[in-house]
């Protein structure tokens, strides 16, 4: 048996990803330290770790983003490494340097990697040098509305305005006409300021009806960089992914190779270390692809890559962070079969509004080739402070068709009540002809599901719902009356007692 690369790892995250990392550590024989905010005492990641420490109040700024506190806890607990998961501190170079100073290994890329890719404008300049294809747009930040109008004159509508430091659907606006330009420009700047403390925005051509294709890359400290093929993440609502699959049904084999090579060039040009993802915007008509951004962290959708390649990305991250060379070569890596992931979110499936609250019943799917990464359990109160995603269902099949059918089967087994969830939306998407033939794009949901009463509720007749509600209402009313009766009989009993005494 190989000695574990670390003794104890602190996981600076919450929810399903904290659990995913805990699992990787366990399998390597490494002890785990969970951290939690006031709102997360009952979160499953706390129960599953070896140790758990409270780090502050519910708002992320005062807990999961409070890196000084987290490092202090890591020292006290005797952790020799920190895994940041995704989001929160995962792409913060200040945190990485603070870990270094404290003598703790940060499991992830170097701060220089993050800085190179963290600002989208400087990232594009670097990619241009590395010969990675780019979308036409503003050469750098756009400061004023007048300047924005000038840029758009050159590249034409529609355009997309993006906060330079943005991500996760924040600080992004599509503009289709000049009348919308000014308000969208201001909104992006203020979101950039509020969320990322950087108001800089840039503008680029909005590729009509594109697909989102990304390549998983992995580097080590010895200069090796490989890719683990693509993931297609075009099923999005509010610019956030909800279904991902690998391989993409739209990428021909020769383009797949070019994508992989471009991604490796991109990562190599900045001496990238650890797991990262190069996101491309993909024109399905011409099969052209353009660099969008690099995520310098583990992705939510990493499990589909794990299922088609057979490599455990979290364990590889830990292995590489210790300074070991990658445990696989490019020629070892193959895509086998097909994997799909559906993100289960506590939200209204029609309006996409978050629906936090107490979960009543929760029973996860089981059975062959189904993987569940979830932190939901019966009685758990989904807090209002964090992301609405509560878990992921991932299925594998020998063919795409089998993976889809398996996903439908798995979702049908999923029982989740008390809060609203998007499971029913997923089931509808899986039956949609545009999903089935693979022609869907990032506007798929916007175009096909933006109706008030979508197909998704038609499957079940109203009487089923009304009868169940009516019987419950009857029982509720009865139990109230029973309570009243009990009170009455108590009076009678006391009355009798008094009589007996006299």
């Amino acid at each position: 048996m190989i000695t574990p690369p670390f003794k104890k790892i602190l996981i600076a995250n919450r929810g399903e990803i904290a659990i995913r990392i805990t699992r990787g550590c366990r399998e390597l024989g490494i002890a785990t330290v969970a951290v939690f905010s006031e709102a997360d005492r009952d979160s499953l990641h706390v129960f599953l770790a070896d140790e758990a420490y409270h780090i502050g109040p519910a708002p992320s700024k005062e807990s999961y983003l409070n890196y000084r506190k987290i490092i202090e806890v890591a020292k006290q607990a005797g952790a020799d490494a920190i895994h940041p998961g995704y989001g929160f501190l995962s792409e913060n170079p200040v945190f990485v340097r603070a870990c270094r100073e404290a003598g703790i290994t940060f499991i992830g890329p170097t701060p220089e990697n993050m800085e190179a890719m963290g600002d989208k404008l400087s990232a594009k300049a670097l990619m241009r040098k590395a010969n990675v294809p780019l979308v036409p747009g503003s050469d750098g930040a756009v400061e004023t509305v007048e300047e924005a109008i000038e840029v758009v004159k050159k590249i034409g509508y529609p355009v997309i305005i993006k906060a330079s430091a943005g991500g996760g659907g924040k600080g992004m606006r599509v503009v289709r006409a000049e009348s919308e330009l000014e308000s969208a420009f201001r909104a992006c700047r203020s979101e950039g300021q509020n969320y990322f403390a950087n108001p800089a925005v840039y503008i680029e051509r909005f590729i009509n009806d594109p697909k989102h294709i990304e390549i998983q890359v992995f580097g080590d400290t010895h200069g090796n960089v490989v890719h683990l093929f693509e993931r297609e993440c075009s099923v999005q609502r509010r610019h956030q992914k909800i279904i991902e699959e690998s391989p993409s049904p739209s990428v021909p084999n020769d383009v797949r190779l070019k994508l992989g090579e471009a991604a490796v060039r991109a990562a190599k040009s900045i001496n990238y270390v650890g797991a990262g993802t190069i996101e491309f915007i993909f024109d399905n008509q011409t099969k052209e692809f353009f660099f969008m951004e690099m995520n310098t962290r583990l992705q939510v959708e990493h499990p589909i890559t794990e299922l088609v390649t057979g490599y455990d990305l979290v364990k590889e991250q830990i292995w590489v962070a210790k300074g070991n060379p990658l445990s696989f070569k490019q020629s070892d890596i193959r895509q086998k079969g097909h994997a799909i992931e559906a993100r289960i979110c506590a939200e209204d499936p029609v309006t996409y509004k978050p629906s936090p609250g107490r979960i009543r019943a929760c029973r996860h799917p089981q059975g062959p080739f189904v993987r569940i990464d979830s932190y939901a359990y019966p009685g758990y109160e989904v807090p209002i402070y964090y992301d609405p995603m509560i878990g992921k269902v991932i299925t594998w099949g020998e063919t795409r068709e089998e993976a889809i059918n398996r996903m439908e089967r798995a979702l049908s087994e999923f029982v989740l009540t008390g809060i609203k969830s998007n499971i029913v939306l997923h089931k509808t998407i899986l039956k949609h002809p545009k999903f089935l033939d693979g022609s869907y794009t990032t506007q798929f949901i916007e175009k096909n599901f933006e109706v008030l009463e979508p197909e998704i509720f038609k499957e079940i007749d109203d009487p089923v719902f009304i009868i169940a509600a009516a019987i419950t209402a009857y029982q509720d009313r009865q139990s109230k009356d029973v309570r009243r009766l009990n009170v009455a009989s108590n009076w009678r009993r006391i009355g009798r007692k008094i009589q007996l005494r006299t």
Binding site: P356, G357, R360, E453, D462, Y474
Partner: protein
């Protein structure tokens, strides 16, 4: 026991009779015939967390969440929310209607969250489509706008407040 039910704008009259071994539930959608369902208690069985309901040849696992008049029924990854009024509530409602309450319009929070910014104060006249306030829940900011021309009577929250679902945010003056 008699109820009235509202589901997606449709009104139903509902009658529930509990027998020793069965439930008799009758439904009448407004303007249509009564429909009668005789459901054996063996086909509507409570498990620990949910009800197993065998209905018209299909098997449903059901969970019902009831709060006051609002009932949400979950089954097969789907759900419906409806209003159910029992006799007592129907009586209250009819009394209220006769009482001539001032019909102030109210903006309520659709979900629990935090008030990020308020754009209006009492006395403001707000044109339809203009922003009233921004709420944040689960990382998403939602701007709430006036759905019609309104005059603000009272603002019940302040910036930074955390509110529960259904909390009153702004009261508007009744337009006469």
């Amino acid at each position: 026991m008699y109820f009235e039910c509202e589901l997606k704008g449709k009104k139903y009259k509902v009658d529930v009779i509990e027998g020793r071994h069965n439930w008799k539930v009758s439904l009448q959608l407004e303007g249509q015939e009564w429909k009668h369902y005789d459901i054996s208690k063996n086909d509507y069985k409570s498990a620990e967390e949910y009800v197993s309901f065998l209905f018209e040849g299909k098997s449903y696992l059901i969970d019902v969440l009831g709060q006051d008049t609002e009932y949400t029924v979950f089954t097969r990854n789907s759900f419906r929310t409806m209003q159910i009024y029992n006799d007592e509530m129907l009586l209250h409602r009819s009394l209220k209607k006769g009482g001539g309450m001032g019909g102030d319009t109210i903006l309520k929070a659709g979900m629990p969250g935090k008030v990020i910014e308020i754009f209006v104060k009492p006395g403001d006249e707000v044109k339809s489509g203009k922003p009233l306030l921004i709420m944040e829940a689960m990382k998403m900011e939602n701007e709430m706008r006036a759905s019609t021309d309104v005059k603000v009577k009272e603002v019940k929250v302040k910036q930074g407040d955390s509110v529960e679902s259904g909390a009153v945010l702004i009261i508007f003056e009744d337009k006469k």
